[in-house]
């Protein structure tokens, strides 16, 4: 990487640290434009570090969102050089192109201001897909024993580490083309519930995700699985929902 790095004019002339040329999208839902910043390059530096540097040293009015800085909370995702990334764990060196960075708010979501996207549609669809547990027993019933080797549990476990960062949602062109499409995260959540032996009504889960805007809208472009920062596989989860609802249909069900 060092050998390939171009020496910037400022480094050439004064011997100071190299700078990153960073285009940051500034604006609101009404519109906006990219603004250029020069940010000192460090050996170890994440995209979130770059955005924070701009806010602290160049323009305190820059709006963005973050919380944990360690890839747990899912609040700092942005478009970096055209691809959705969790910025707190994306190293500049991994994604920079000739010392240049373009940072924009997440795709497929309304913009609140600058780099902060409005996550409401994303979470609304999570709710619409029934993304919460519906208990099949009360606290007075004995607890059923489900080992982690149970096939359904294996399927469910594969999808439960989602941090709701909306990277998959931003990467999906089906979401871009159909505002009613539930999107990869909400559908993957439904797939984990469908495979949960303790879910009260698993057929109802299928009902919620197999109609208009549901799993059958997916075109299997696979961007969700490619960009998921937690290396989950929404593509396969949605395929599972397609199989389950198709099987039910051909068995003469709904």
């Amino acid at each position: 990487m060092t050998a390939m790095r171009k020496i910037t004019p400022s480094e050439d002339a004064t011997g100071t640290t190299p700078v990153l040329r960073v285009s940051v999208w500034r604006g609101t839902a009404e519109g906006g434009a990219y603004e250029e910043f020069e940010v000192p390059q460090q050996d170890n530096q994440t995209i979130l570090d770059v955005v924070s540097w701009i806010q602290q040293y160049a323009d305190p009015t820059l709006t963005y969102r973050f919380a944990c800085r360690v890839g747990m909370c899912g609040s700092c995702a942005m478009m970096v050089n055209g691809k959705p990334r969790w910025t707190c764990r994306t190293h500049v060196k991994k994604v920079t192109e000739g010392g240049a960075l373009t940072i924009a708010p997440l795709r497929n979501l309304p913009v609140i201001k600058d780099l902060a996207a409005d996550m409401d549609p994303f979470f609304d669809k999570w709710v619409k897909a029934g993304g919460h547990h519906h208990p099949s027993a009360s606290r007075h019933d004995p607890m059923p024993v489900i080992t982690s080797e149970t096939p359904g549990r294996v399927e469910a476990n594969a999808g439960i580490e989602c941090i709701n960062c909306s990277v998959c949602y931003a990467s999906c062109d089906t979401v871009a083309g159909n505002p009613d499409y539930l999107g990869p995260a909400a559908l993957q959540r439904a797939w984990t519930l469908y495979n949960d032996a303790k879910e009260a009504d698993r057929e109802a889960v299928l009902d919620r995700v197999s109609g208009a805007g549901g799993c059958h809208n997916c075109h299997s472009q696979g961007s969700c699985t490619l960009y998921c920062p937690n290396e989950l596989d929404p593509l396969s989860a949605i395929a599972g929902l397609k199989r389950a609802s198709a099987k039910r249909f051909f068995k003469g069900g709904r």
């Binding site: 050089n81 055209g82 299997s220 961007s223 960009y227 198709a246």
Partner: protein, 115 residues
């Protein structure tokens, strides 16, 4: 921004795009195809004239394009069916793909010997 990559540059998205493009192109071709076939009943003389035109080398070349679109679209559909309806593991998919590639290689060799 120049030369910036997008979230779309990966094989699965390109496979989707090829499937969509080949489908659209075939859908546009199909009415013309059916119209020409219908000439056999309504206007055989014009059909003969058309078939004569279709013997031109350039038209023959374009037919290769059609066959390519048809093959791409059919294989794309089979790919989707396998992707979505066969919940295979990664190694199983790799094995299936290599078996398919091997079969293609062998049948291709026989085909080349035949011509």
């Amino acid at each position: 921004m120049k030369g910036m990559k997008t979230h779309r540059d990966h094989p699965l998205w390109l496979a989707y795009a090829l499937h969509r493009f080949s489908g659209l192109a075939l859908a546009i071709f199909l009415p013309a195809h059916l119209y020409v076939l219908s000439l056999a009943l309504t206007d055989p003389a014009r059909l003969d004239g058309f078939l004569h035109w279709a013997d031109l080398p350039l038209v023959k070349l374009a037919e290769f394009g059609l066959v390519f679109l048809l093959a791409a679209h059919m294989l794309g559909g089979l790919r989707l069916l396998a992707l979505e309806f066969l919940p295979w593991s990664g190694p199983q998919k790799s094995l299936a793909a290599s078996v398919l590639a091997g079969a293609f290689l062998i049948s291709g060799l026989f085909f080349l010997r035949a011509i």
